[in-house]
Each structure stands twice: as C-alpha cells, then as structure tokens.
C-alpha cells in the first residue's frame, strides 16, 4: 500500500505554539475575501438580496424626510402669506410617508431575521462534525483547544460572530444610505462637509480596527485565563466533589486559588480597555471636528447671505443628523471588522485538515482480523517519556488475548493506539497485514467494538445507546446484547423498555442507572456490533461485584469464541478464558503465552498471580485444615 507517505501526527505536530498558529491560520485573509465567503448563502438568494436593498432604501430615507419636512415648513413659515392648511397638510403627509417607510423597513428586518439563523446553523453543524472527527489527541492539547474556542463561538450566537455580522450589515445598509443622502445634501453647502465626514468615519474605523486586532492577537491569553477561572469554578461547584470537599476542608483553598486568577485576568482586561480609552480621545476629536466644520461653514454662508433662513435650519438639522448617522456607521463598521476576525478563525478551523488518518487503504478479508504491533514506541504529545518502547507483538485472527500489567504500564495507551485514537511516535501497527496509518479514519474505527473504562452515559434512549444510532435499530439485537450483559431484567422493568431515555436533562422521567448498570450498558453496546472484527475491552467489570462479574465472563467465553478480542483487567483470574495473555512491562511485552505457560515461568506474571491469589489460597488452606 502507500508506505511512502509521510505519516502525520497532528496531535504531536501542533504542540508548538508557532507551528500551531501557522497551521491553523496559514494566511491572513483580506477583509473582503472573508466577507465574500461569509455571504455565499446571501449571494444565492434573490429574495434576501432584495430585502437588503429595500430595507436600506426605506430605512435610509427617514432622516432625509425629517430634514425635508423642516425645510418645507420653515419655508412656508417664512412666506408672506402663511397658509395654515398647507402647513398642516404637509405635516400630515410627512407623517404618513414616515409611517409607511418605517413600517416597511421594520417588517423587512424582523421577518427575515431567522433566515440568517437557519443559514448559520448549517455552519454550526459542520463545526460540530469536525470536532467529533478530528484527531483525538488534539483534545488533550490545551493550547489548541483555546485557539479554536473563539472559532466555535462565531457560529453559536445570534448577535455576534457570523450571524451578528449579517444582521449588522443588513442594518448598515440603511445607515449608509442615510449618510450618503445627508452627506450629498450637505455637499450643496460645501464639499468640505463630505470630506470631514469621511475623515471621521476613517479615523473611527482605523482606531477600532487597531483595537480589535490588538485584542484578537491576544485572545489566546484572555481565553486561557478565562478558562482557568471557569474550570475552577466548575470544580468547586461540582456536586460530586461534595463529600471530599467537606471532609478535607477544601473550600478555603478554592477561594485562595481563585483570587489571584481573577486579579491576573482583570489586569489583562484593564490593559485592553486602557488602549481603547486612550484612542477614544482621537475619535471624540474627530466627531466634534465634524460638528465644528459644519457649524462654521453654515454660519459663514448665512452671514454672507448665500443661504436663506429656511436653508439654514434645514442644513443645521441635516448636520446634527449627519453626525449621529456617522457615529452609528462607524460603530457598525467597527463591529463588522471585529467580528470578521473571529469569523475568519472559524473558517480556518473548517478548512484546516485535522485528521492524521486520511489514507485510502482497505482492510482485506472478512471476519476477525489479526493484529501486529511492530517496534511501536509512543510518548504522549507534549511529553518525552516513552510509555511504550519498541513494543512488538501479534494477535492472531480469532485469538482472545488478555493484556495485563502494572498500573501506568501503558495498557490503556496501547488500546488507544490500536483503535487509532493516537498515532505511534515510531513503529507501525498492522491490521490483517495492512498498515493502519494508511486507512481512512472511519474504516479503522468501524473495525472495533470497544468498552472503555469511563462509563458515563449520554441522554439517549437505551436502544439508541446500545445501537449507537437512532434509525434502523435492530431491536432484537439490542435485547440480545442487553441479556448477555446482564442488564435485561432491569431494562424490562422500565415502562418503556429499551425506549427508556437515560438521564433527566432531556426527559424528566429519564432513568438513572447505577455505576455497575452503566458498565453493563456499555458492554451491551460493544456486543451489539456483531460485525466488529475485533473486540477491545478495558476493565469492563471494574464496577461489578464478584457474582455479576463471573456471570459476564461466562457470557464472554461463549460469545467471543472465535473472535479476535483484547481484554484489559487487573483481576488476573478473569483472564482464564483467554487463549493467550500478554504482560506489558517496561514499555514492551515482557511475557506472553497461555496462563499455564506464564505461571510456569519465573517472572512478573507468576509474581502477580501469586500475589493476588495468595489471600484466597492462604485462607482456603487455613479453612481446609480446620
């Protein structure tokens, strides 16, 4: 197969901060490119484009209407013969036009709002999908997780991120039209006005841009500090910690550790806001300057007699509205520019290839697979210590192996490498003779049925949990699996049987199972996967009492005969139904063979077995002798 491909190991590669930055964000995209991409759905919808334009016109024209009516009325007031009726008619006409325009613009905005929400959700789905399929090791890389956090939030809100930007641009259409209309009107007075206006907007946008870039560059630090405080608070408020917290008087420590974190965070936050404040002097100046320029020009012209009183009043109200509009426009532009920085991060996340396993290979044959680890060494990404050191062993197709060893020997690590969750630092893993690194991720995962040590259930129904899907569930198979795992009696006692939801967060009448029952549920899930070509079980009976454990192992003996399987267990006695035992020690397989063979050899296995068994035997002998 494709053995010349350089193998990727993203979890390891992206440990380094610089490498991570350049991998996740290879190019700074120009603002318009990001916007172009963000506007793909809008570009494709004529209806929405039309709504943008209509809104801009109906909303943008409102300030101009105010100015015009002032002009008309003041003009009428100044005329030699004042017609009261005309005046009132004019005011009335204005009222009607105002009402119509504002109604239209409000309706356009409100009724199209959720269209944007639904579009954003498509991107949210892509993000969720990517999170659940990217390299597993990346989750244990805090720097990486902090980096992509802001990316997620871009797709998760109505008022910020991608959707916030869309709404703001929509509104900005109106502001822009207002600014242009008013600015155009004022240019009649002097083009200096338009120039001053442009300068104001430019200064504000540049200043805000500078601030948001500054914040964006340092976001990782703020996110990191925020995360620390958040996680600390969560742990303090964790109900499960309650017993130990009270018994060992930990409450005081939480306060003591939290306080400096908050101080540090506030210091950073203050640095951010200080910058904003110092630049606000500039923005304020620019704003007042516009007022100044316009006012002086107006007075000048009026004194020179170039404009009438009516003109003056109209232009003055235009000036006031103009500067308000400009402020709004600058704020909207600044918001959009700021959010697109984070929207780009979100796009970067979607674009970055984040699966190391992206090959095109296949696993030949049918039925149980054979496994071969060849000189596999592994250190956790970010550490140097080799947990596994040139590990080499075979598991034949259909062979049931037990993996034993001391704590921290690397048994769970070995399982994670086998399942494809981590990539070996060096060495290869072969499945039916094929290098697992050449397989596509989904293919590799689909080979296995697995039971992990942690057994927390999710709020699915029992059937969904066992079948790991919500459609096309083979209900008979679910029942069989539950029976084998020893959970059927309990499930049958529920009113809804296998359709009973778990946990109470989604359904108030959901079931809460005990630790042992949850473990049986996870065993059932592994058993459901009848077409799994290998079973992997990591301490599947740790939470069960002796009798329950015995029952399960009896089932395993029957059920897994002829299937490739790997068991991890501390309880050596439970490995007796396995064909072969592998002893992991010092990072490699120290001993292997059948139980009888290993027991006969002088070594760690014999020592482990006797150590665990002696308490039973001493007593049995003592009992027998009485």
């Amino acid at each position: 197969m494709n053995t010349n491909r350089t193998r990727r190991d993203l979890a390891r590669e992206l440990q380094d901060k610089e490498r991570r930055r350049s991998y996740l964000h290879p190019r700074k995209q120009p603002f318009f490119k990001v916007m172009w991409r963000a506007y793909a759905p809008i570009r494709g919808s004529f209806k929405i484009l039309l709504a943008h334009i209509l809104y801009a016109l109906t909303d943008g024209v409102l300030p101009l209407l105010s100015v015009l009516i002032m002009y008309v009325l003041v003009g009428l007031l100044g005329a030699p013969e004042v017609n009261q009726r005309t005046m009132l008619l004019a005011a009335g006409a204005y009222g009607i036009v105002y009402f119509l325009c504002s109604t239209l613009s409000v309706q356009l905005k409100q009724r199209n709002y959720t269209w944007f929400t639904r579009q954003r959700l498509k991107w949210l789905n892509l993000t969720g999908h990517k999170i659940m399929s990217m390299d597993f090791g990346l989750f244990e890389n805090p720097g990486f997780m902090d980096d992509i956090k802001t990316a997620h939030w871009s797709f998760n809100g109505n008022n910020a991120g991608l959707e916030g930007t869309w709404h703001k641009v929509f509104e900005m259409g109106g502001t822009l039209v207002s600014a242009l209309l008013l600015g155009g009107l004022l240019c009649w007075l002097s083009p200096l006005v338009a120039a001053a206006g442009l300068v104001l907007v430019a200064i504000t946008v540049v200043v805000q841009s500078h601030i948001s870039t500054y914040k964006h560059k340092r976001r990782e630090e703020l996110v990191r500090l925020s995360r620390r405080m958040g996680m600390l608070r969560e742990e303090a408020a964790n109900f499960k910690a309650g017993k130990d917290l009270r018994l060992y008087r930990m409450a005081g420590r939480f306060q003591a550790v939290f306080a400096p974190l908050l101080t540090g965070y506030m210091k950073l936050y203050k640095a951010f806001t200080r910058r904003e404040f110092s630049l606000s002097f500039l923005e304020g100046l620019a704003l007042v300057a516009v007022d100044l320029v316009c006012a002086l020009l107006l007075v000048n012209r009026r004194l020179a007699g170039a404009i009438t009183t009516a003109d003056f009043v109209m232009l003055l109200s235009a000036v006031i509205l103009f500067s308000q509009t400009l402020v709004l426009l600058s704020q909207q532009l600044a918001f959009i520019k700021n959010e697109t920085l984070y929207v780009q991060d979100a796009f970067d996340f979607l674009d970055a290839p984040l699966t190391s396993l992206d090959g095109q290979g296949q696993v030949p044959g049918k039925g149980p697979v054979s496994i071969r680890f060849e000189e596999v060494s592994f250190a956790y990404p970010g550490t140097d210590r080799l947990v596994l050191d040139k590990l080499t062993f075979d598991i034949k197709a259909g062979e049931r192996c037990a993996l034993v060893g001391l704590n921290g020997a690397g048994k769970t690590t070995l399982v994670k490498l086998l399942l494809g969750l981590y990539q070996p630092t060096s060495g290869r893993i072969y499945i039916n003779g094929v290098d697992s690194a050449t397989l596509p991720q989904e293919t590799l995962f689909a080979l296995f049925g697995a039971v992990f040590q942690e057994v927390d259930p999710l709020a699915f129904t029992i059937a969904e949990t066992v079948a790991a899907r919500d459609a096309d569930i083979d209900r008979a198979r679910v029942t069989e699996a539950l029976k084998t795992a020893g959970l059927w009696e309990k499930v049958d006692s529920f009113e809804k049987g296998i359709d009973t939801p778990l946990l109470k967060i989604i359904h108030e009448d959901g079931a809460i199972l005990s630790g042992g029952e949850n473990q049986k549920l996870m065993i059932a899930r592994a058993l459901y996967r009848q077409d799994a070509r290998m079973m992997v079980m990591d301490e599947p009976t740790a939470a069960l009492d002796a009798l329950a454990e015995q029952a399960i192992y009896q089932q395993f003996d029957d059920l897994l005969r002829g299937r490739t399987a790997l068991f991890i267990s501390h309880r050596l006695a439970s490995t007796h139904f396995c064909d072969r035992i592998l002893l992991l020690s010092g990072g490699h397989i120290a001993q292997h063979g059948s139980h009888a063979e290993l027991l006969a050899q002088e070594g760690l296995y014999q020592q482990l077995f006797h150590t665990q068994g002696k308490y039973y035997l001493d007593q049995k002998e003592a009992a027998a002798s009485e």
């Binding site: 742990e235 130990d244 007042v288 309880r571």
Partner: protein, 609 residues
C-alpha cells in the same frame, strides 16, 4: 451564618422567591461584591444623558445668534465653546464607560464564584438530590449562556440614562408648553401600555424557551466534551449527536421566527405613535412660530429645539420602557439563581470535642434516601471496637457506601442512632468530629490544586511529612520524575502544566490524603479498584502500618481483602446477615462464601491444575 428564616417553599421543596425578592437579593449581592459599582453606574448614566442632551444646544445657539445679530467673532467663540463642552462631555462619558465595563466584567467573573461558594456550603443531602442538581443547572445556565447578569446591569444603565434624559427633555418641553408635554406623555404612556402586552408575551415566551435552550445546550456542550470523544470516534456518534442538536435548533429557530414577527408588529404600532407625535410636534410648534393664537410666540431657534426634543422624547421613552422590560426579564432569568442562594446551608453547631475512637456502634439504624424508593438499611446494629479492622461485604447497592456516609454525618438516619464512644454523633462539634475520620470514598475526588494542597489543604504538615506519606503508598517513583514535586498541579483542564496521573496513581494519592491527618478511624471504600495486583498487595501488606493501628473499615468487591480483616460485616437486604471472622463465615453456607468462592475458584483451579 445562615439565620434560620421561615422559608416559603415551592411544591418540590425548593425555596420560593418572588421577582421583587430576587431583585432585592441581586442588588444586595452586587453591593457585597463590588460597592463602587453603584456610584459608577450613576455617573455613567448621568453623563450618558448629558451627551444626548448636549445636541439640543447647537441649533438654539446658532439660530438665536442670528436673531440677535451676532458678528462672526461672536459666533466663532460660541461654536468653539460648544465644541469644547461637547468634547469634554464625550470624553467624560468615555472614561465612565471604561470604568463601568471593567467593573461589570469583574462582577461577571466574581458572581459565579460566589455561587460556587454557596454550593460548597450547602447542607450535604441536597447534593444527592436530583432536583437540587437541576436547580443548580437552571441557576447557572442564564449566567453563562444568556449573559443574564450583564443584561441586568446594562438594563439598569439604560433605565437611569433614559430617565435622566427624559427629565432634561421634559424640562425643555415644559417651558415650551406644559399641555404639549402632557399630551406627549399621554401618547407615550398609551403606546407603552399597548407595548406591554407584547412585553408580557415575550417574557413568557422567553421563559418557555429556557428548557429547550438548556437541552440544546446539553447536546452542544457534549459535542465539545473531552470525556466522550473516544466514543464519538469509535462508535461514529457524529450523526446521532448532530441529529439531536438539530431537533432543538429547528425548534428554537421556529420560536424565534414567531417572536420576531410579533416584535415587528409591535414596532409597527409604535411607529404609528411616533408618526403621530411628530406630526403633532411639527404642526403645533409651527403654529406657535406664526403667532400667539396658540400660546406665546416662539422663535425659529426654539422651533428647531422643540422638534428635536420631541423626536428624542418618544425614542427615549421607548428605551426607558424597554430597559424596564429587560430588567424584569433578566431578573426572571436569574430567579433559579436566587432560589439556589436561599437553599439551606450546612449547620456547624457547636458540640463536644470527640476523643480518639474507642467504640463505634450502629443502634437500630434504619435509613432510606430522601427521594429513594427502597429501604437501604433496615434496623441495622453492630459494634466496632478500637483497633479492629472490619470489612463490609455485600452485593452491589447493598448499602455499604451508605454506612460510610452516615458515619461521616453527610446524612442522618430516619431512626436509630450512631454512637461514637457511646455518644450520639450528632452531639459532637462537626469539624472536630470529621477530624477523627479519614475517608477514601469509592468515587473520591482530587482537586485542581497542587499535590501539596490536595494532601494538606490547610498547610499543617511540613513537606518532609507529606513526602514520607507518599513513600508509604509507593509513589516515590512517580514523585522522582515530577519536576515540580509537591507543587505539581493535578488538573490539566485548569493548569496546562499539570500532570495527568493514572487511575492507580490517583487512588494512591487519595489514600495518602486520608493518612495525612491525625484521625482515629480510617474508612476505605474500594481503595484498590484501580490498582494492579502488586500495588494492591502493598496496600494489604502495609494495611496495618498504613492504618497505624487505628480502627479501620474496609469495603471492597475483591474478597481477598476481607481475609486480613478481623471481622466481616455481611450486609444483605439492609440487614446484618453476619458479623464474624472470615474463617467462621467460610464454614457456613451464606452469601459471603458464595462471593468469596466465585473469585477464589479461578486461583484454586489453577493451583490444582
């Protein structure tokens, strides 16, 4: 600290809080956390109002200047003065906005910690009550997902700012015509009352949405939860999980659609009033300019100001009303939070100081969990004497761990007593009593601090003593390769440089923690579940040294452990089925023998093979 106040309870036994009570308690909380905030709030609002009103000055200034026949220099001075004044106001506002932002960020981060602090002080049985857990989730959700606290503070600013602005505008309009002002106010009030119907609808709709949002939040957070990532990949759960997320996002989008449509209709109605008011303002003010039929004549300068003021008036009134609605809405969101803060805290009554254990006795103890459906312990009685090592054995859910919780006074039995040195444990000083106990729970918890903090949170023991204890539980090898030593952090989610200890290492740390205090009763609940045979054997071999001759209670599924205990307490159906030595129990036909043989036979078969 928590005075016993007669509390009103809801149907499910949780404390009740009205909107007003909630608002009051929130205000008190903000005062306690950050006193300066109220002052900043006030000044920020004053300046916000000032910056709105300042725009009224310019037109009057200029137009009246013309009426008085000012010269260019006069105008120049006037305009410059105005510009300077406006600039000052803007900068002062900017400064206060900065201050307010900092303080509200501080509050946003401090208040959740105050909440966590409350959790840490709760009366323990509530921590095993699913309804209290639910209340906790409902309490924290609006703060993290809706920014309810920020929303509350923002609404307060809007209310005060618009109120002050309204005051200024009202003053201008009053001078113009009190009747005009009154009519305007009347129209505003009518418009707002009509709007109130919509506000009420929105408030209820938002409340209705919260459970949906929480469920959506659960699924969404699960996608990012590191604990489930293995399963997602190996079992290909992407599709299933995203399907769950999408049921809620669809629901939420539909709900939003209905809300926005109604909001649009309401806004249209409000626009009608705005149009009406503007027409009124333009018309009436123009008439007053023309002559004194309708009131004293006003200048064109006044005309501009009146018109400007009127336009602002309704908008500001809407903001004021909107602010009040936002405030009430956010207080409603924070109701679960306020309810949670009313939950009873653990009482720390004074009492006798216990001496080291001589006897521990259960006397006809019956117990069932507060919301439980079965009797866990049924008239249980037994005695333990100083120095004894007792093993408690039974099937899953037999009540073994419950006995531990009762001894630790986390729960109280419904009937019967637990006697420590002959005295009911309830009569002892709680803290002093706990000091006599050293516990390793089955679901022990290690905290996100340093190793030293975990072993010795109050800093009573010197480093050497702690290192010695770590040696005893065979962690010296692990310690040797830790560059930070006792200063190593434990939780990687909080500290990037933390060390992820293996399950077995964590269990040893938990055991070490229990040894680091001077206690006379050691309770170990499944202390070797995560340990390999050698490590487990070490614990057993050194059990006597580890427990230093203290009285010990040992619970384990591994029957081998009971062989080095003096007596075994066999629990069956909540009762004491047997309480005797291993040898004695093995002679009879009982559950203990069955359990023991089930595990022993593997070793025996091998032996005989």
């Amino acid at each position: 600290m928590n005075k016993k106040r007669k509390q009103v309870k809801t149907a499910d036994g949780l404390p009740r809080a009205t909107t007003l009570q909630a608002l009051r308690s929130l205000m008190k909380l903000i005062w306690q956390v950050d006193k300066a905030y109220y002052l900043i709030l006030l000044f920020r609002s004053i300046l916000g109002a000032a910056s709105s009103l300042v725009n009224l000055i310019l037109p009057k200034l200029l137009i009246d200047g013309f009426a008085r026949g000012w010269e260019w220099e006069h105008f120049l001075k006037g305009i410059l003065a105005f510009a300077a004044f406006k600039y000052l106001v803007l900068q002062a506002l900017s400064f206060l906005k900065l201050k307010e932002k900092r303080h509200s960020e501080y509050l946003d981060n401090k208040v959740p910690m105050v909440f966590a602090d409350k959790v840490m002080r709760l009366h323990y049985p509530q921590l095993e009550d699913p309804q209290v857990l639910d209340l906790k989730e409902r309490a924290i959700f609006p703060i993290t997902n809706y920014q309810a606290l920020q929303g509350l503070l923002g609404a307060a600013i809007d209310i005060i700012t618009s109120f002050l602005t309204l005051g200024g505008l009202a003053a201008v309009l009053f001078a113009f015509s009190p009747w005009f002002l009154l009519t305007l106010l009347a129209l505003c009030v009518i418009a707002s009352l009509l709007s109130a119907r919509f506000s009420r609808y929105m408030r209820h709709a938002l409340q209705d949405l919260i459970p949906t949002n929480r469920r959506y939040g659960y699924w969404f957070d699960t996608i990012f939860n590191p604990a489930f990532q293995k399963e997602f990949r190996v079992y290909g759960l992407n599709v299933l999980l995203l399907a769950k997320v999408n049921t809620y996002t669809g629901e939420i989008a539909d709900w939003l659609n209905r809300l926005y449509a109604r909001q649009g209709n309401n806004a249209t109605l409000q626009n009608l009033f705005t149009a009406l008011m503007r027409v009124m303002a333009y018309g009436y003010a123009a008439l007053r300019v023309l002559g004194s039929q309708w009131g004293s004549q006003i200048t064109l300068g006044d005309y501009s100001v009146i018109v400007l003021a009127t336009e602002n008036f309704f908008a500001t009134f809407q903001r004021f009303f909107g602010g009040i609605f936002e405030l009430i809405s956010n207080v409603h969101h924070l109701l679960p939070f306020c309810q949670f803060m009313l939950l009873p805290e653990a009482e720390q009554p004074d009492g006798l100081i216990p001496e080291p254990l001589r006897t521990l006795a259960f006397e006809n103890v019956s117990f069932r969990y507060p919301h439980g459906d079965r009797q866990i312990l049924d008239d249980l009685s037994f005695h333990i004497y100083e120095g004894e090592k007792i093993s408690i054995v039974g099937l899953n859910n037999a009540g073994k761990s419950t006995i531990v919780k009762l001894i630790c006074r986390l729960f109280e039995p419904q009937s019967g007593r637990i006697l420590y040195n002959g005295t009911d444990i309830r009569e002892y000083n709680y803290q002093a009593y706990l000091q006599q106990l050293a516990c390793v729970f089955q679901d022990f918890f290690l905290f996100p601090f340093t190793l030293r903090d975990n072993l010795d949170p109050e800093g009573n023991s010197p480093d050497e003593a702690l290192l010695a204890i770590l040696d005893e539980v065979s962690l010296e090898g692990v310690m040797a390769r830790l560059p930070g030593g006792l200063d190593t952090h434990l939780n990687k989610a909080v500290w990037e440089d933390a060390t992820d200890f293996s399950g077995g290492e964590k269990q040893k740390i938990a055991i070490a923690r229990s040894l680091a205090r001077t206690s006379s009763l050691v309770i170990l609940d499944e202390p070797t579940a995560a340990l390999d045979p050698l490590a487990e054997s070490e614990v057993y071999e050194h059990f006597h040294e580890l427990t230093r001759g203290r009285t010990a209670i040992f619970i384990s599924h591994r029957m081998s452990s009971s062989t080095f205990c003096d007596k075994i307490l066999l629990l069956q159906d909540g009762k004491m089925a047997a309480f005797d030595s291993h040898q004695a129990l093995m002679k009879g036909h009982n559950l203990y023998r069955d359990l023991f043989m089930a595990q022993a036979q593997h070793f025996l078969e091998q032996q005989e093979a």
